[in-house]
Symmetry: C2
Subunit: 310 residues, 2 copies
Amino acid sequence: MKKQIKVFAPATVANVVCGFDVLGFAVNEPGDEVEMTLTDQPGVKIVQITGDNGKLPLESHKNTVSVSVQHYLKHINREDVGVEITLHKKMPIGSGLGSSSASTVAGLFAINQLMGSRLTAKELIPFAMKGEELACGYGHADNVAPALMGGFVLIRSYDPLDIISLPVPTNLHAAIVYPEVDVPTKDARQMIRTKIQLKDAVTQWGNVAGLVSGLFLDDLDLVGRSMKDVLVEPFRSILIPGFEELRNIAIENGAVGFGISGSGPSVFALTKDSLTARKITDLQQAHLTKMKINSSAFVSAVNTEGPKLL
Amino acid sequence: MKKQIKVFAPATVANVVCGFDVLGFAVNEPGDEVEMTLTDQPGVKIVQITGDNGKLPLESHKNTVSVSVQHYLKHINREDVGVEITLHKKMPIGSGLGSSSASTVAGLFAINQLMGSRLTAKELIPFAMKGEELACGYGHADNVAPALMGGFVLIRSYDPLDIISLPVPTNLHAAIVYPEVDVPTKDARQMIRTKIQLKDAVTQWGNVAGLVSGLFLDDLDLVGRSMKDVLVEPFRSILIPGFEELRNIAIENGAVGFGISGSGPSVFALTKDSLTARKITDLQQAHLTKMKINSSAFVSAVNTEGPKLL
């Protein structure tokens, strides 16, 4: 059995505009890397974290990667195993791109590989949700499920957990821009109203059903028409500088659809090819620069394989 | 060009449990029939209605069939045409099975045939919605769209109207029971809360997305798991005698899923074959008889063709 491994796990776009808390997809860039080594000393240790500017805890009981790996080892009755983890953060923290999820999933994918792939990607989801609980205050699945399974994922139900893989239209790309402003997930959730109008909910689930249908029918026009959010975006977008202008840039330049990634502040567009995606992020970044806001951009195909060995 | 025609249009099950106001499907039984004759006297006349126990108006401006035919003729600039209509109600009125919709759709299908099929089924939907506006007080599409197009239909959006045909799993049957109690659509709508919890809406759109995915994947287990309604059924089911017991009968006897048809009082189960459907309706009717409630039952495959010539 292998003793050392290096893996990648993808960033993810949760919600996909209309599917608040139930939809997400993975991208090929960015993502996090984990190096994992088995040792003879029982216990899970974080030995090093790079790229986090000292933001993430090294203590095993506080870090989402080690905590979820501990849960995994307990589940398979291998708490005798020693694990040393190096985490390379290769994506911004608090950006709305499933940063904690990418790290956690990389860790779980690595330990599962080292333990002989005892669980399937789907079976790893509950362990990754433990990591999300630690990072975000509640164990959501709309980042970890697509990060583990790749592609578009529907969380039909949390209790019991019921996860459905949805098809990915050919050559679908994501154009992501992260404006470097601070929007903690907890605050972004507090922007949302807990009581809503039934008629708005009907509009929303018409769009959720339309988006899912568009994916199955490979009908990107339908996907785009369905990427509307009357419930959450109106509030969360307030925290994102120049949101309406960023949307206009995306739509006027051929995006299938546009919206907030997760709880923001990152925004994303879906596009039919890589060139369109790059054009959109270039123009959006130029706009943010005019607003004196630093930003990063990521262009890649929608990820269809989930985490991978490096 | 033909001068006389007889057509059938199907009953429909709106909402399909989780898809309030956005989903519906058509059945092969029951349905309404319309005989239509072109004459030289301009104007749309209802000459006879059978099977309605005198409940429906014969006046052209009050009857949903004639009103929608008038809208159609105005649209194609043929108000010079004379039309005589005989409506055969072959299904219960106020049963939650899209009774007004079946009549209206039969009328529109007939006139469109007589006028040389100038509009597609989808293009007829707005005219049928005019009929629903007259019958129910608002122009909903979750009965008329499946009645016109057959199969399962998603109304993604009302403004603009955006209708998506969904696949019908092979051999899917509907087991419908109509307990003969009075539940007017308007009252049933008033049972519903206009303000809801966001978390309940999330549960609901997870299920809507699951149901749509199940249809595309031909996964009847997923369809069944998704047929849950936390928002509307808890209130509307109060008006339906023995609702929980009717559900238990359906689920214990192999139904894919069970719920209220439209605004009730009819209930329906989806099943994998006709025998299962018949067994369920027999047991449900026996239960209603014990409760001293008269009922009718209808068993048929899900309709995939919409209205047809007789």
